[in-house]
């Protein structure tokens, strides 16, 4: 009995710790006046509207959405053939590319960011918007690579084997057997990369920080000059986007399995 109580208290405490700052931000975001007050004084949705009506915030929102959409697509386009090759072929040398795909995520992000900064500066394209897409695409390749490797490892190898025996070509096997099986893993890999790209600060800042404001960059710049309630409403919007995207992943995929709990049913 005491064990249950301890579990309840412990998990509740962690839950409160995780929810507290977000609750305050949500409260602050509906203040009527432009004040940082909690509990909120009055109730107003004006600061949510401001994300879309204020030119700068809207531009930052769209910059972030476009960046995340393209970067996640690039990350998947790199991870998919790589994961497929690693699953299909026996080649020790290919492991090095697997390592390269995971490395940007394990190292402190400032390192990848600085690598990109020196690279783009050397090429003379520092600050061009498309460099952020490539930088994020490479930086987040890890996520679809991990989900896709997991997806491939769960494929029963006798299925494509059977299709090949029946005379299907390599390409046909991939399209008709493998692709449908790993589609959920492609989607979840894309989703992870998308949400993280949306929230990423330092790589974006070091590559295009002076030419393009993504939302995290915009929030930080605004934070330096004081407080505006739009920061709070944008933060809430981001939490909602993350929750919705991961919620969809959980709805259509197996979240515990995706996160590595392979032995649980």
């Amino acid at each position: 009995m005491s064990g249950r109580l301890l579990r309840f208290v412990w998990m509740l405490a962690v839950g409160i710790f995780l929810a507290a700052p977000l609750t305050v931000v949500a409260g602050v975001s509906v203040n009527e006046q432009q004040t940082l007050a909690f509990p909120p004084q009055g109730l107003s949705m004006a600061w949510y509207a401001a994300i879309f009506t204020d030119d700068e915030w809207r531009a930052a929102l769209f910059a972030s959405l476009i960046l995340a959409t393209l970067a996640a697509a690039l990350a998947v386009s790199i991870a998919l053939p790589l994961a497929w090759f690693l699953w299909r072929r026996q080649a020790k040398w290919a492991r090095i590319f697997q390592l390269l795909g995971v490395a940007p995520f394990i190292l402190p992000p400032v390192i990848t960011a600085l690598g990109f900064l020196s690279f783009w500066a050397t090429l003379g394209v520092y600050g061009a918007r498309w460099t952020a897409v490539i930088s994020h695409g490479i930086f987040f390749t890890t996520l679809p690579l991990v989900t896709l490797s997991l997806g491939f490892s769960s494929i029963d190898r006798s299925l494509p084997e059977a299709a090949a025996t029946m005379g299907a070509s390599e390409g046909a096997v991939f399209r008709t057997v493998i692709l449908p099986l790993i589609r959920p893993y492609i989607v979840s890999g894309y989703a992870f990369a998308f949400v993280l790209s949306l929230n990423e600060y330092i790589v974006a800042y070091m590559t295009v920080g002076f030419t393009m404001e993504t939302l995290p960059i915009k929030i930080f710049n605004a934070l330096r000059y004081g407080y505006t309630p739009t920061m709070a409403s944008v933060s809430v919007l981001f939490v909602v986007i993350a929750a919705v995207v991961f919620g969809l992943v959980a709805r259509f995929g197996d979240l515990p399995k995706l996160l590595g709990a392979l032995t649980r049913e």
């Binding site: 909690f38 991870a79 795909g101």
Partner: protein, 284 residues
């Protein structure tokens, strides 16, 4: 379909594109950075190709030593707090019903994906005088008047624990989900209290997991860049902040690159250590 070695150019073709992308846009940038770390810095201008060790020699100053020591200390503190809180939490989490687990995992992922800027902003609000938690304490009669709890070391540590805790739990989750529960049941049958069973059975069998997680969270925390700036004083700035400051504001790329290379070496050494521990665990 068995795994076969690639025999023809057609077999190798699928990996060509990812390989080129990773080499051109990860290996070469990384190499550029390492090269720049040996370049000579020009006052006012950018830098010129050279081979000097000046940038590395600057590590030996007390200022740099202080920042490095603080960064390591902070990351260690974050790792210890996160594992101390996260390990029991994950232990409870994996025994919940599936639906409850998914709800928790969803919340953890949502918090984990949050931008450092948003986490920093959220905590600076929660710890502020006007909208902060102290207002609640005043309302409850615990304090006389609201006060600001930032900037300071406590605020930086809290923010970083907040950022790293979901990561810690998600790293621990797979191995605790695979834990052999019969061990625990055996201990309970023999009359051990739940707490005793936890400390005498679960913790010892998970020793390698705990050490590996500590290291991973440590490396994760080393990368924290915005939270020390938003929640701390310049005294609490970390190596990541210093690297960016040198690169962007002091235009001293060579020194920034040298510090980054140094950070890579620390991170790689620790990740290597984790792999070694993992291998030992696999053998055991």
């Amino acid at each position: 379909m068995k795994r076969t070695p690639p025999k023809s150019a057609r077999d190798v073709a699928p990996i060509v594109y990812p390989a080129i992308m990773l080499v051109v846009f990860f290996v070469i940038p990384f190499g550029t950075m390492v090269t720049v770390s040996f370049f000579k810095r020009n006052q006012g201008a950018f830098y010129t190709p050279d081979f000097v060790l000046d940038n590395y020699a600057r590590f030996l100053t007390t200022f740099f030593g202080g920042v490095l020591a603080f960064s390591l200390f902070l990351a260690i503190m974050v790792a210890i707090v996160c594992v101390a809180v996260g390990f029991p939490f994950t232990f409870f989490l994996v025994r919940l019903k599936r639906r409850a687990q998914i709800a928790w995992l969803l919340s953890l992922l949502s918090v984990l994906s949050l931008s450092e800027v948003i986490i920093g902003f959220a905590w600076s609000t929660l710890l502020s005088r006007t909208a902060g938690i102290t207002n609640l304490f005043v309302a409850l009669g615990l304090m006389d008047r609201p006060e600001a709890w930032l900037p300071g070391f406590g605020a930086v540590l809290t923010g970083m624990v907040y950022q790293a805790l979901p990561y810690t739990i998600l790293v621990l989750y797979p191995s605790l989900a695979r834990l052999d529960w019969s061990l625990l049941e055996a201990a309970r049958t023999m009359g051990a209290s739940p707490l005793r069973a936890f400390f005498n059975v679960v913790v010892p069998v998970s020793r390698n997991t705990i050490v590996a997680t500590l290291i991973m969270v440590f490396v994760f925390a080393l990368g924290s860049y915005l939270l020390p700036q938003i929640l701390g004083r310049p005294r609490q700035w970390t190596l990541s902040v210093l690297i960016t400051d040198q690169a962007i504001y002091q235009s001293n790329m060579p020194f920034a690159a040298a510090m980054a290379v140094f950070l890579v070496l620390i991170a790689l050494a620790l990740v290597g250590l984790t792999t070694l521990i993992g291998r030992r665990e696999a053998e055991a």
